[in-house]
């Protein structure tokens, strides 16, 4: 058999794109309809979450704290500035990790393997993604100052700055994605992102402490700062965008397909509000990049070895530990701006997130029956052993954040007659609650799409199992937060948290 000879005519990218569009139209929904449907989903979700966030922010800032001192506008605006810096850092790190220029696996296999001009094929998606990032940045930028009742001019300037920063982050990440020699190094933008996160955490903590101590803060010069940020970001976006576009043809197929898989994971995670798929893909990429470790043998024998191995694995993920520690800032920030009861709520919710950062081992043994089967320990003991590290983390986290409650004069910890909660009891209830929520989330069974469905209430017929599994973990944290707001005493909260923890550990992954 002989391969057919090439005719010498290679179709230009626009012909390939036109062909794909015609096939889509013929066999399914049109491109425009698909894009509109996806955009509608994102817009509805973003609008709901944005409105909730803005409303909560306004209530927090404008609600008069029960300890009598309304949060100053200066403190609130500095905290929002720290939040903006944190968002920029997180976005930059996320974009660098994802590799913003991607191709769907099918396109990578069937189109990019040919001699078609690769830069031409990728360019429309590149510009569309950059525009999408700018739109999201503009929306976030416009929403962030809302809690401080800003003028229209500030909102518009913030929107422009947000769009420019997002475009700059996208362009920087796209340049970093290019092969060595053509980029300024994968590590550059990632470290910039990390630096922004550190600056935001330290700055936020400093502002919170200053606010709690009653030190006056100068007003944020919002207009000039936003203008400078916008101009600088536009320059970075223009230079980075030009370099990234020029290098599109040099992106290798593996990088593009890998990014496409991640994008698919993001889309699925957003659609189903479940991050497990995205986390799995991101972990795979992270460990592939790491490739090797210095092997260190364990000590001793028997089941206790599992505990030592869990601790060692955590040591290999310093970002998890940093995230765990950084979340301790949250109760202090809330103490600076909100009513004390919200500090207790923030402690439980942020505590659940923080402790969740330590549950990688528990999640692994819970997700993988084949792994459990290899070990000479029953399932329950395996899960209890892998809960020890998060439990220690919960106790430490509550000890570190307890002063925020005291500083805010929170009745739940200060033991005032209003709540009747001795300090230690309330702290134990919070620690067990955070642990219960984190363990319940980590022992979440695989999504069950085959369960009974509830009727269409606006999002289509939804399996009950899907709802319960997506909410698993968050349900406990929210229940405990609700109990705090309802004025329930610590014995009730402790009992609920203990039952939830015991329930999660009884036969994990079985329910």
């Amino acid at each position: 058999m002989t391969a057919a000879p090439a005719t010498g005519v290679i179709p230009p990218p626009r012909v390939v794109r036109a062909y794909r569009r015609s096939v889509r139209r013929e066999h399914g929904r049109g491109v425009l309809r698909t894009a509109l449907g996806a955009t509608w989903d994102v817009v509805v979700g973003a609008a709901v979450l944005g409105a909730l966030g803005a409303q909560a922010g306004r209530r927090l800032v404008h609600g008069v704290p029960s300890h009598g001192t309304a949060v100053s506008a200066q403190t609130a605006s500095w905290l929002l500035a720290a939040a903006a810096v944190a968002l920029a850092g997180a976005a930059l790190r996320g974009l660098v990790a994802a590799g913003p220029v991607s191709a769907q696996p099918a396109a990578a296999s069937w189109i990019l393997t040919g001699p078609v001009d690769r830069a031409g094929v990728l360019a429309p998606r590149f510009w569309l993604s950059a525009a999408g990032a700018s739109a999201v940045g503009a929306a976030v930028g416009a929403l962030l100052p809302v809690p401080t009742s800003p003028t229209l001019a500030v909102v518009l300037t913030a929107a422009v700055a947000g769009a420019a920063v997002a475009a700059a982050a996208f362009a920087s990440a796209a340049v970093a994605q290019q092969p060595p020699g053509r980029s300024f190094g994968f590590g550059g933008p990632r470290w910039v992102g990390t630096g922004l996160l550190v600056v935001a955490a330290v700055g936020g903590l400093a502002v919170a402490v200053a606010g709690l101590a009653g030190h006056p803060l100068p007003a944020v010069p919002a207009g000039p700062v936003l203008a400078v940020v916008a101009v600088a970001a536009v320059v970075v976006a223009a230079v980075g965008g030009w370099r990234a576009r020029a290098g599109l043809g040099g992106l290798d197929r593996g990088t593009l397909a890998s990014g496409g898989t991640l994008v698919l994971g993001v889309a699925t995670s957003v659609t189903w509000m479940d991050t497990s798929l995205l986390r799995g893909i991101a972990d795979e990429r992270r460990w592939r990049d790491r490739a090797t470790v210095h092997t260190r043998r364990l000590r001793g024998t028997g089941p206790g070895t599992l505990l030592r191995a869990d601790l060692r694995r955590l040591g290999r993920q310093p970002d998890r530990v940093v995230g765990y520690a950084a979340l301790a800032v949250v109760p202090y920030v809330v103490a600076a701006v909100a009513d004390p009861i919200w500090v207790a709520v923030a402690q439980v919710l942020a505590g659940a997130l923080a402790v969740g950062r330590l549950t990688a081992g528990l999640r692994t043994v819970s997700d993988q029956p084949g792994l459990r089967r290899m070990l000479r320990v029953d399932d329950r003991s395996l899960h209890v052993l892998h809960t020890a590290l998060p439990a220690a983390g919960a106790v430490l986290w509550m000890a570190v954040t307890a002063p925020a409650l005291v500083a805010a004069g929170d009745p739940a910890l200060a033991g005032t007659p209003a709540a009747g909660d001795p300090a230690l009891g309330a702290a134990v209830a919070a620690a067990v609650g955070a642990l219960a929520a984190a363990v319940r989330a980590a022992t979440r069974p695989p999504l069950n799409y085959g369960s009974v469905v509830v009727p269409d209430v606006g999002f289509g017929a939804t399996p009950v199992g899907l709802i319960s599994q997506v909410l698993r973990g968050a349900d406990v944290a929210l229940l405990l937060a609700g109990l705090i707001l309802a004025g329930a005493g610590y014995p009730v909260r402790l009992a609920v948290a203990t039952v939830a923890l015991a329930w999660s550990l009884r036969t994990p992954s079985a329910d």
Binding site: E284, V293, T295, L371
Partner: protein, 203 residues
Amino acid sequence: MLEVSGLTRRFGEHTVFADVSLDLPSGEAVVVTGPNGAGKSTLLRCVAGIDKPDAGRISWDGRELRESDPAVRAALAVLLDDVGLFPEMSVAEHLDLLARVHGVADPDAVVDEVLADVGLTGAADQLPATLSSGQRQRLLLGSCFVRPRQVLVLDEPEQRLDVPGRAWLAQRLVAEKAAGVGVLLSCHDPSLVEAVADWVLEL
């Protein structure tokens, strides 16, 4: 001894296999063969306690086999297609952890020996995400050999191994039998069947 009697498994109206019985004494090997879709993997999943048969009984040492029973986990080294790995642990650390959890007396020496045996000494520091499919299969086989065992349950263990690797596997399984380990495996490789099988169960 592992005993299976009257095992039946159906998926809806489709009967995968019916009334399968086998005994696996120490030091002998039963090899399950058959075309794709014949039910080999499903049979092994049932025997290992991971899938529930519609009828029949599986017992270990005269008691009903429960996969979550630590005694069963200590006795049966199982390699099916659902084996997972800790993403943050190197090849050598996986074997080290298993050896220690199973109470191996001299884990360092045993791990080094198994690493050499499965040909992964050079990949000892690698994380699972970087292993080729053949290396991953060798690591999973190593996970069965690094720990004490009375029975090996292996689903197509020759898959993804190169030609020398298949020859090594045959020798290794013969050695396992000689050491008194019962072997239950499914496979498509006639030479492996010939080298290892005392009994052949064709589905």
